[in-house]
Amino acid sequence: MLRLLATIKKEWLLLLRDRTGLALLFAMPVVLITVMALIEDAPFRDYQELRFDVLTVDNDHGRLGKHIREGLALTGQFNIIDTLDGKPVQEAQALDKVNAGDYKICIIIPQGATGAIVSNANRIVNDLSKRMGVPAILPVSTRKDSLNVWVYFDPASKKAFKSVIHQAIDNFLTQVETDLLLERIKQQLKNKDIVQQDSMVIQLKAVGLKEQLTGPSQQLDVISNSVQHNVPAWSIFAMFFIAIPIGGHMIREREEGSLVRIRLIPGSFLDILGGKLLFFMAVTVVQFYLMMMVGIYLLPLFGLPKLMMGNSHLATFIIAVSIGLAATAYGILVGTVFKTPNQALNFGAISIVILSAIGGIWIPLEIMPAKMQLIGHLSPLSWGLDAINDIYLRNRGVQHIWLHVGKLIGCAVLMLCIAAGVEQRRIS
């Protein structure tokens, strides 16, 4: 125990003397998380949170144009722009603006669109009336050609974005057509004294659509915001970066000869290794909670949402320790395999960036291609992130994270065994 405690104290003193190392371990991740959360805030916001300017050229000046404008405005996602420099937007001008990328969407409602819908409704009602033996009296236009509402997109717009807009406008058109048709039916029936005015209620939506999350979580707004992804993700990234100072320390100890001196002292080397492991694990856990504090207290000051940590603090602690163990073991492996601090630095940094990229740290694993998702699930960083998402987003507890914890601990043990084998081979 004395050897273990002495090693912990020695590592603590070495870390305190290394101010650059301290800054790298604690200050840099704070900056990283803040910057990444701010940068990725917009992409993480869903369409309900974002507002787009929509150029609208209303040549109809009728009910359809009004309905489309009001409907789009009501969603809260669109700002309707129908004047530029105080003048109504012209069609050619609107197309230029969209082509230039100044606006993402332009909607052109053709002249006579509402009239065409009314005429079509009248024709249907007249047709139905005739079949029912009622005189058809509603006026019908003789116009043969069909009209279209034109939607122009910025060429750089994403397919999903176009699809959402297309569906929304299609819904408005259907709704206006349905409303007008029902109005005409009611009017025809009223004219023939079949029903009293205001006594007929036609409800079209018999079945509605409501969103509800599964699981015990009540935090509906938590999912998929920048803070909920970036804070845990980049915290895990920062924790794994401890591999670089650990690897560097170990190589320097070997080069300077202090490792040989330690080996010449009677007693198990496991005490020394255990002290190193425990100390750096503790450092990574402190790092983790410091980053969580950034998510809870600092990021909201920049207008970002507050980090929600779920309800199981024990599960959070267990996974933080497991990630710390895997990160420390990785550092020991790097420090054992490589011969110079430069090799350890380069390999350590690049390998962690790769593991983080495939492990869903940069962008969530769910939006990666299927093959990359498969590869991504091999990264220890993804195991940690999955577990944290289970705790934070799905409000799960200790019993749900054991698989991830087991994988992280198993990986740590494997890396330590490889390191021991390499060291043994080096000595022999």
């Binding site: 004395l2 050897r3 405690l5 002495a6 090693t7 104290k9 020695k10 003193l13 070495l14 003397r17 290394d18 100890e253 300077e256 000869g257 202090s258 040989v260 001196r261 330690i262 080996r263 010449l264 002292i265 009677p266 007693g267 020394i272 000595i427 022999s428």
Partner: protein
């Protein structure tokens, strides 16, 4: 038991007592070839050093000194041969026991440069199982002996070369070893530091410790060593007291002449 065949019979009164002169180190027919090496480092090296002596293990670069020391202290395993330390065979079963008996002063400054001398010594003392006031008293005592009492709280990387060497020695003797092995302990130090180190070695030896000392400074070895063993190309070339070795060769006036006589003038890499 006279493992080495070097026994002294002494008569005390009416009793004839056999006093066996134990060896500090016995090396017999030691062979070692490192993986990937073209030449073996040790080719049947054999020697023995008496307990309580200051013995010089001398040889040119590549002679096999460091390999021999590494095998003696258990850092490296020999391919074949026997090594005993105070009659304990250097095997896995006795390795920990031997570590407690032996102190190694490596050629490198095997300390943590960012830590102070006291922090380093406390750490290594703790690893030997020493702690608290006894450890602190021991550290203070040694810092005083080595003239570092005013600089004990200074980081080692701020020490001069001589101060580092002295601190390096203290870290190796905290556990009061019976055998101290020093690998070029005075390399690159000034005259004052060298004098202090050599005086300490004499005092330490006077208290009963055996000392094995390697150096390329042969005038120093001639002064301090009671016996020397010159090895080259992994084999023992000659062993004896400096005075005897010089006397055996009328053309040699110094140990360095004897050394060059046996190892030649060709430069070694």
């Amino acid at each position: 038991m006279c493992g080495l065949g070097r026994c002294v019979f002494q008569e005390t009164g009416s009793l004839e007592t056999l006093i066996e002169i134990m060896t500090s180190i016995l090396v017999q027919d030691l062979h070692k070839t490192y993986k990937g090496a073209l030449e073996p480092s040790l080719k049947g090296l054999s020697f023995s050093f008496e307990k309580g002596m200051i013995t010089g293990l001398l040889g040119p670069n590549g002679a096999g000194k460091t390999t021999t020391i590494s095998i003696i202290c258990g850092l490296v395993s020999a391919d074949s041969g026997l090594v005993t330390v105070f009659d304990l065979p250097q095997t896995t079963a006795h390795r920990e026991e031997i570590k407690q008996l032996v102190g190694i002063v490596p050629q490198q400054i095997a300390l943590f440069p960012q830590l102070t001398a006291i922090e380093n010594l406390e750490y290594f003392g703790n690893l030997y199982g020493l702690k608290g006031k006894p450890l602190r008293t021991l550290i203070d005592e040694y810092l005083q002996i080595f003239g570092l009492e005013q600089n004990g709280n200074k980081a080692v990387h701020r020490y001069s070369g001589g101060m580092k060497r002295r601190a390096n020695i203290i870290a190796s003797i905290l556990h009061q070893p019976k055998l101290l092995i020093l690998d070029e302990p005075t390399a690159g130090v000034d005259v004052q530091s060298r004098s202090m180190i050599l005086q300490f070695l004499r005092d330490f030896n006077a208290k009963g410790a055996s000392i094995i000392y390697t150096s390329h400074l042969l005038d120093e070895a001639q002064t301090i060593c009671q016996e020397v063993a010159i090895i080259d190309e992994g084999k023992l070339i000659v062993q004896g007291t400096p005075a005897n070795l010089i006397a055996q060769h009328p053309e040699c006036q110094h140990l360095e002449d004897v050394f060059l006589y046996y190892t030649g003038h060709a430069v070694r890499d």
